[in-house]
Symmetry: C2
Subunit: 497 residues, 2 copies
């Protein structure tokens, strides 16, 4: 195969894969925003399965690897984008091929069943129901480590699968630093006499929709290149580079739920909207990694959306739209949107304690993969760790070890990337502040300078660079959790001491 | 190829084609109901084009015809469904293959351009802009007749393409009967002193949505196996047999527009919802023909929705939802929803005059195909025929010869199927009334007996039988326009004499 043939073959495949993936994204969007009639689920699932299978089998066909190997043989003749495409496709292809197909099939039907069992186990508070499934999931995951390969710790292979380049060494350092600095803060807050006022009341949904428009405008999420849907569990999805959609769920008695989910999803969306269009042709038109994506959403949600400057512009807006804010001031609002309190449920956790929930899961997964603990030990260890790190004790498994769908879905190694995003976000914020007056931009109700910096230094590159390389180019150094830990320590000491 | 291999091959292909078509239907639904960002149009169009092309190329591959020919060689060993599948696929395949691919490609790019030119020609009232495109469309259509083949009149080939089994002979008889009976009625109405009161006022859209729910319930459109969207131009689309969606457009100052579009689309939807699920596996899960589909929507819209019995149940409903009906009675409402008046625009025409609009187009198309007239004669002949049949004269081309998109889209032979549906509808209604008390069913606000008869005699068969066979099995005779003409004559004589 010649270089030209190889490039043409990959381009042709990409067209097919792109179309099939677009269809899959629209099928998911349709289901989430308008629902699927229950009787239609099976046939629709078969069709969606066919489309996904077709996309996969086009990728996994043997001419793909022939093309990749051809291009690997003449890397120096390729431009930067072509080289990155070869790197990404080569890695992905070899991982897919490393798993024996019959094992993968068995695993997929296992996890399809396990998710139903997991729901039953939660409902009946019976860990023993799900235990044999978790055993098999972790057993498969351990073998996955061997199939994928690793240098130091087998769990590296799983971490890397969700966050390219992530390792146990890096996560251990990060999490022990967090533990050391955050757990005393949490104890301090638990005994603090500062009790911020809570935002309560009724918030008419039509008014919340008006707030959403203002938030989209503020974050520079381009609604003319996307749209907003209402769903049960908010997400962001890319149909095309110029049709990036976000979603939210409005609750009449909770203002913050939709407010911060919109800012969060807008953070994902501006990333997708700003990826250079030309990268699509090289399979590089996605975010650099899951952690990198979370860095954008969490920076917007927490570092910007929960800042003092944002509280200042938010208050007059809330006074214009809702009753009950007449006797509030900026400082009260800032404190109200930053209430930190140790809790049992990860997805409801505040900015400060969120990563502690991740540490629990990380330590358990790592020990399960290395064989130090067994699945049957999980409930006991979960309770121990929550008591140790957060000072709370789950009353049942639904609020404890069975709260997350991940393990029954076969996702092992996924949790840390939620936390890694915070680290990147703090690094970017630190670097950006050297050249951009972020607070002035927030107070001016126009994030253009902030988003401009992110687009220039992060967004536009898509998957062209590996995460560590991308953050290094933008900030001058690789993954470094100290900025994030310092940020948390300063913010929450000021708030609660 | 053995019989078993052939059946398996077609089943496997169907799975792919079904999934690709489902994706295409969802892409269209998404565009119509939520819109597409303008900047996303091109990429999205490319992806949709790829999916459509993939579906087509799987169908047109040479192993399809090998399988069809294998099965044609052992028809007597096949069951009824398999035989029908072979009949339908064989016809479709040979038609597709009869057109030289380069001619088809040229035609497709011609019509893609022609639709933009048509819009310009309408705007500037300049027929000469579109004339060369129409020349080419009709030139291609004439050659299409030869490629497809025909027995008597070349136009038969085009009619049959949209309405299996339709011929010039049948259409001529139908339309001349209509002409003879309806044109005097139209003259009578024009000079009638009966001036029904019109429904005017403001109809809050939220209340119209409540009316929609009642209409869906009344027509037995199963909303749990579908959903309702709001769009610019209403349509019905099938995602799966258990997810059949209808759409409408609400106008605050027009009650009838959405009311009757909902009943019309519900007529299409109950057809799709009631097709036997097992037929999907044989490529037979669609309506028997376009005319057969229209027979269901027009029966519900006109013969049921514009009946005296329906006016009786509608009035209290309108009084409950809207202002301004307190001084109405059943008879007034019945007359208001049946106002007939010759007009210029087909899609706005009433039940009585609708088919006259079709006659104009039918006669012009037939004469163009046989070479009796030229494209340049169209504007003059259009005006002549509207004056003769409807007594009205278009002030410009937008309200005259350029009102329909069909010819610029390459659709020649399509119009008559709109009218043919009315004929089937009247035949079914006549047969059904022998065993079902239709008016009592309407007055009881529950169409179950009516829909039950339609399901039993029409819907469930999908494409298993050819249209003429289907109507014959249900009513004891083939296509017979006399029921429809009698129905119109009686209804509108009673209303206006």
């Amino acid at each position: 195969m010649t270089k030209t043939t190889a490039l043409e073959l990959l381009a042709k495949k990409r067209e097919a894969i792109y179309a099939l993936n677009m269809a899959a994204a629209l099928i998911d969007w349709d289901a989430a925003t308008t629902g699927v009639p229950e009787k239609s689920l099976e046939v629709r699932g078969n069709a969606a399965g066919w489309l996904g299978g077709e996309s996969f089998s086009r990728f996994i066909a043997s001419d793909t690897i022939e093309a990749i190997e051809t291009l690997e043989g003449c890397l120096s003749e390729l431009d930067e984008k072509e080289q990155a495409m070869v790197r990404e496709l080569g890695t992905k292809y070899r991982k897919e091929r490393a798993v024996p197909p019959e094992e993968m099939q068995a695993f997929e039907s296992l996890t399809a069943q396990a998710q139903n069992i997991w729901e039953k186990a939660r409902e009946t508070n019976d860990f023993s129901l799900i235990e044999p499934y978790y055993e098999k999931v972790f057993d498969f995951s351990r073998r996955l480590c061997d199939w994928y390969g690793y240098e130091d710790h087998p769990y590296d292979a799983l971490l890397d699968d969700y966050e390219k380049g992530a390792t146990v060494k890096m996560a251990d350092e990060f999490f022990s630093l967090l533990r050391e600095k955050i757990t005393p803060l949490v104890k301090m807050i638990n005994s603090s006499e500062k009790k911020p006022r809570e935002i309560t009341g009724k918030f008419p949904i039509e008014r919340q929709r008006d707030l959403t428009k203002w938030l989209c405008d503020f974050t520079r999420y381009d609604i003319n290149r996307g749209k907003i849907g209402e769903v049960e569990h908010p997400f962001c999805t890319t149909i095309t580079r110029n049709d990036v959609r976000i979603t939210t769920k409005y609750h009449e008695d909770s203002l913050q739920s939709s407010l911060f989910s919109i800012i969060h999803e807008a953070g994902h969306a501006i990333y997708e909207q700003n990826i250079a269009e030309e990268l699509d042709a090289y399979y590089l038109g996605d975010g650099a990694s899951m952690g990198m994506h979370e860095s954008q959403s969490r920076m917007l949600e927490n570092m910007i959306g929960r800042s003092q400057a944002f509280a200042e512009i938010l208050l007059p807006k809330l006074n214009g739209l809702f009753d009950g804010f007449a006797d509030w001031d900026n400082e009260m609002l800032y404190r109200a949107i930053n209430i930190a309190r140790p809790s049992l449920i990860r997805i409801e956790a505040d900015e400060l304690t969120y990563c502690l929930h991740i540490i629990v899961r990380y330590e358990l997964e790592k020990a399960l993969i290395s064989g130090e603990i067994k699945v049957k030990d999980l409930p006991g260890l979960w309770t121990e760790k929550y008591e140790e790190l957060l000072g709370v004790r789950p009353p049942d498994y639904a609020k404890g070890v069975l709260q997350d769908v991940h393990w029954s879905a076969g996702l092992v190694g996924y949790f840390p990337s939620y936390a890694i995003g915070n680290v990147y976000a703090a690094q970017y914020m630190h670097a950006m502040k050297k050249v951009v007056d972020v607070d002035a931009s927030i107070r001016g109700e126009d994030l253009t300078p902030v988003v401009g910096w992110l687009k220039e230094n992060v967004h536009r590159y898509g998957e062209l660079y590996l995460p560590d390389d991308l953050v290094r180019r933008a900030t001058g150094e690789g993954f470094n959790p100290s900025y994030y830990v310092d940020y948390l320590e300063k913010k929450f000491t000021d708030l609660y001491k």
